[in-house]
């Protein structure tokens, strides 16, 4: 039976799709997370998966290098989206986007490329929670979201909406969870507070600050940020973004920049040291205000030594 179904589908025309490869390429410079953009900071590096590409990753590398002149280092796959938006357009062939997260250090973008490093908080201002409480913008965001909740049909739907808002945005005494980047973006999209949503046909209500991107690119970026924020907690990926030598404060600032929140200095150091992620180079940081800090380097050995951190299961020894 399965065979029959399979055959039927093969004969049905028009299974052809086009697959786009999209890169979220991240660097951190001076405590600010940056992403590589093209098209006047309105798109991520991307291009179709082609015949000549030996694999998805090589295709991606080819496109990024061609468009930005920047080689790709550490790469991992993010997610595969089918295009939403243009929903009525049922005639066009399907197009899917296979997205990747890449980590590097910032480099000068070569001449002749339309590429820029753009700060990622330009696209997601609400994701930067480092500066305590940015009173005014947060207030308006919250009130827009509350208005959206209230606009639901029934009282129970209104409660449901507000609970979602409160959880994803850490309102009503809930904790802010920095990993919910994508959920926040999706919710704002659903609430019509994002230009992309209006473009895709939502009601044009008020729109909140934050630069937009073509197609699904801002959603893909949100996915990348979420993944990276989750990952720095259990794999030593920050080091892909650091220079060869750095002080512990620089490392802390990078982590804070990515996570969008501040961490406790002394405890951060203890965490790093007890995990033996770094070793002293012997050198001391120059030209700094305050007491000079020791320079450290990443201990590459840990990649081999430890596979992953951890278990939450109460394993039994016997």
């Amino acid at each position: 039976m399965a065979g029959v179904l399979r055959k039927a589908s093969k004969t049905g025309a028009a299974n052809a799709t086009t697959a786009d490869l999209v890169a979220v390429l991240v660097a951190v410079t001076d405590g600010e997370p940056k992403i590589m953009t093209i098209a006047n900071a309105g798109a991520l590096p991307s291009g179709p998966f082609e015949f000549a590409h030996r694999s998805l990753q090589t295709g991606l590398r080819a496109w990024v290098e061609a468009q930005t002149g920047h080689p790709l280092g550490y790469v991992e796959q993010l997610y595969t989206f089918a295009d939403r938006g243009r929903a009525g357009d049922a005639k066009s062939p399907h197009s899917i986007s296979i997205s990747y997260l890449g980590l590097t250090r910032e480099d000068q973008v070569g001449q002749g490329f339309e590429a820029h490093w753009s700060g990622w908080y330009e696209y997601f201002p609400w994701e930067d929670q480092r500066s305590g409480l940015p009173a005014a913008p947060a207030k308006t965001l919250a009130s827009r979201l509350r208005a959206w909740s209230k606009s639901a049909a029934t009282a129970s739907l209104q409660r449901e909406r507000w609970q979602r808002v409160a959880i994803t945005f850490g309102l009503d005494d809930r904790e802010w969870n920095e990993e919910l980047v994508l959920q926040r973006y999706e919710l704002l999209y659903e609430a019509g507070l994002i230009p992309e949503a209006v473009r895709d046909g939502a009601d044009a209500t008020a729109v909140i600050p934050g630069r937009q991107m073509t197609g699904d690119h801002r959603r893909i970026l949100a996915t990348g940020i979420a993944r990276l924020r989750a990952k720095i907690k259990y794999r030593p990926v920050v080091f892909e973004l650091m220079p060869a030598e750095f002080t512990l404060l620089q490392l802390q600032r990078s982590v804070e920049a990515l996570a969008g929140r501040l961490v406790h200095k002394q405890n951060f150091r203890r965490l790093i040291e007890q995990q033996q992620l770094v070793e002293e180079t012997g050198a001391i940081a120059a030209d700094t205000v305050g007491r000079p800090a020791k320079l450290f380097r990443f201990r590459h050995g840990v990649l081999a030594e430890r596979a992953v951190v951890g278990t939450k299961l109460p394993l039994s020894r016997t």
Copy 2:
């Protein structure tokens, strides 16, 4: 410049690809994890992403229901692969597989379907570490891997290989890490110990036990198992696999079945209870040997109450 590149690629012919949707559909019955298979237990439910499908997920649902008669419940995306194997065949259009993980309860497979529930450890015997030390098979596996390490060209390559083996398989006093399912499969593939690798052109050395699958399907299954083993630790997804009411021991057995290892009973209960994942139904399990156990049900409230568990960052309160 990017525009120029983009245009050049558009004019280049043959960007057409076909995208297959593949499902790893899991259930747990009597403490054994099962997966839905078709084609005489040699393939996962799958079919091409078609024109008529409104989204990737609806396409997947359509295929799984058509091939197995089983509706799809909880679903999440796993990974997107481009086909490897058939490397020399550069003429054929690219084909990519977008894979999903689905969780349900086992059901009778309807008449007229070629579908079966198959135990997942049939495909990965080495992943079941519940029964203490299965002495003989583990011994031969280890010796095969050691032989592969020794077959490297230089002494340093040999050491590298053995270190990889020891880490992924928990040898040399290292801990077994149940999440490294994919890494173990990839390593065995690389070592030519897997029929699929031989089929794809590796040297035909000895092959180890474990049923094979068509194409990349066993690799996709490994990806699914790994994802599920990781996820049960931080999201309450086991409950998708449990009946409405269950005893804590049944819950524990399910977790053990998925993780492939035994857990400490008392501590497991403490973990479940302190997280308030379940509540008593008031009823008591019948027809059991030993003291009868209380029945519990999953508290659906937790999904709304708590967003995610956790932080490893030493966050600062101020």
